[in-house]
């Protein structure tokens, strides 16, 4: 089964053809935004990190920015730096151009001020845009897709309707040879042992359990005991009996396949099938991590509604809450409330979602894309010094 996409020089499949402007530090973000806004079809990452970072945060920064540049939804990249930041803009551009696409770098201190940098940047991005317009879609196999899964603003409808339906669609994609990313580690607390049983090897199970333990402890350090506090009174009133039930309701959105691999935040999977990526449950950091890791498309279930979207990847919003679908019509892509009204089966809704994934992959725009939702935030472990 196919979709229509862009075959990149490194063999990956793109669903979009963005010209991407990446500020390598917060100080160059303004100039980067002006450059992107002045060229139709260019997008900018609203990155404000890159100064005073320490330890693993420097690794996460580079991995995420390079990951966005190498994501196959991107045709070409301009990295805009200042000149004194710890991540050299040229280093980012070189890592991206190593995959075969054009990537340039300009630094404000070298070029000589904002105005000159913007003028030079516009010229480069315009050229990149003209090249991008000459690129065309061709039939590509669904096995080339990496689908991110996310839930945010969950309510009673998520565990009963939207998550099982998305899970059915994920199983369909995996049976076509595709890849699905499950993430948001704090949400695994309660179901981690069950997920561990589905791991291909004890080593994979161990890595996942270690990640869960890290987050559980990090939350306790911050004064929150996730295991003790869930299910909360609202959950219990709504029918959720145990922590396991709540957590399973969440992870069910990634389907029932065996767990093939565990990857760190923003890292690219080496295997196909169901992958677990260690990310926070923070909606934007999670979304950013999956796209940096190569997800070209994301399905996002919501109960109460959320507008989030990625600068370079389509995010399909799915709700089983009819009220939310009607009230936030401009943000919601799919209504699966028929499941909760007993009018549509989970498998049938899953099939509709699977077809929607194909159509969005082939170019159909999501509501978040139409609204130019540019949400981006890199996960950090430390403070900026």
């Amino acid at each position: 089964m196919n979709f229509m996409g862009f075959r990149r020089k490194d063999g990956k499949a793109g669903l979009r053809n963005h010209v991407l402007v990446i500020p390598s530090v917060g100080c160059s973000q303004n100039a980067a935004q002006v450059i992107a806004r002045s060229v139709k079809g260019a997008v900018c990452l609203p990155n404000i990190m890159g100064c005073g970072q320490v330890g693993e945060d420097r690794v996460l920064l580079k991995r995420t920015l390079v990951g966005f540049g190498t994501n196959p939804n991107v045709s070409a990249v301009l990295v805009v730096g200042l000149g004194c930041e710890h991540l050299d803009c040229r280093e980012v551009a070189e890592a991206i151009s190593a995959t075969g696409k054009r990537a340039e770098a300009v630094a404000i201190q070298e070029v000589g001020g904002t105005t000159r940098t913007i003028a030079l940047g516009k010229k480069i991005v315009r050229e990149m845009r003209e090249s991008a317009l000459r690129e065309t879609r061709e039939p590509l196999p669904l096995s080339d897709l990496i689908l991110g899964t996310e839930c945010g603003g969950s309510d009673y409808s998520s565990g009963l309707g939207s998550n099982p339906a998305v899970g059915a669609a994920c199983d369909m994609l995996i049976s076509e040879g595709g890849t699905v990313i499950l993430s948001e580690t704090p949400e695994l607390i309660g179901a981690e042992r069950l997920l561990a049983r589905r791991a291909r090897t004890p080593e994979i199970a161990g890595k996942m359990l270690d990640a869960v333990a890290w987050w559980e402890n990090a939350a306790i350090q911050g004064g929150q005991n996730i295991r003790e506090a869930n299910p909360g009174p609202g959950n219990i009133e709504g029918g959720i009996t145990t922590l396991e039930e709540k957590s399973l309701g969440c992870i069910h959105k990634a389907g029932t396949s065996p767990l093939e691999e565990v990857v760190a935040y923003g890292s690219q999977p080496g295997k196909k099938g169901l992958i677990y990526m260690d990310t926070p449950a923070h909606d934007i950091e999670q979304l950013t991590g999956m796209v940096a890791g190569g997800a070209q498309i994301v399905v996002f279930t919501t109960g109460r509604g959320t507008p989030l979207g990625s600068p370079i990847a389509p995010v399909i919003k799915i709700t089983a809450n009819r009220d939310t679908f009607m009230r936030m019509r401009d943000n919601m892509d799919m209504d699966v409330s028929g499941i909760l009204q007993g009018r549509e089966g989970i498998e049938k809704a899953g099939k509709r979602i699977f077809e929607k994934i194909r159509s969005v992959a082939s170019g159909s725009l999501t509501k978040a894309e139409k609204l130019h939702q540019n949400d981006f935030c890199i996960f950090t472990k430390y403070i900026n010094i």
Binding site: Y156, L160, P164, A191, R193, L194, I236, G238, G239, I240, T241, T242, L243, E244, E245, L248, G249, H252, T256, I339, L340, Q341, G342, R343, E344, G345, I346
Partner: protein, 92 residues
């Protein structure tokens, strides 16, 4: 498809979840892998809450999403309400 009052998420599940409040004494049909299973409710089941699809003994595992979500703390009859009063975490 006639409107269902409760759904079963996975064929291995031994509970169904009510989609609306269902009074005790109602006879409902839930679909499991295309086949209808009839259950008579022994308790009132609020919307979003679970009912047992078969008799459960004390210590039996409650299965939803195809996985153990809890352990019964006492005998639960088919069609009865399954929740915090008769189920505890499976790992306790």
């Amino acid at each position: 498809m006639t409107r269902a009052k409760a759904i079963v998420i996975h064929p291995k599940d031994n509970v169904a979840t009510a989609l609306e409040p269902i009074p005790a004494g109602s006879e409902i049909a839930v679909r499991i892998e295309g086949r209808a299973k009839k259950v008579k409710l022994a308790s009132d089941i609020p919307a979003g809450h679970k009912l047992a699809l078969c008799d459960l003994e004390e210590g039996d595992v409650v299965i939803k999403y195809g996985e153990p979500i809890g352990r019964s703390t006492g005998r639960i009859g088919r069609g009865e309400h399954v929740h915090v009063h008769n189920v505890t975490s499976p790992n306790k």
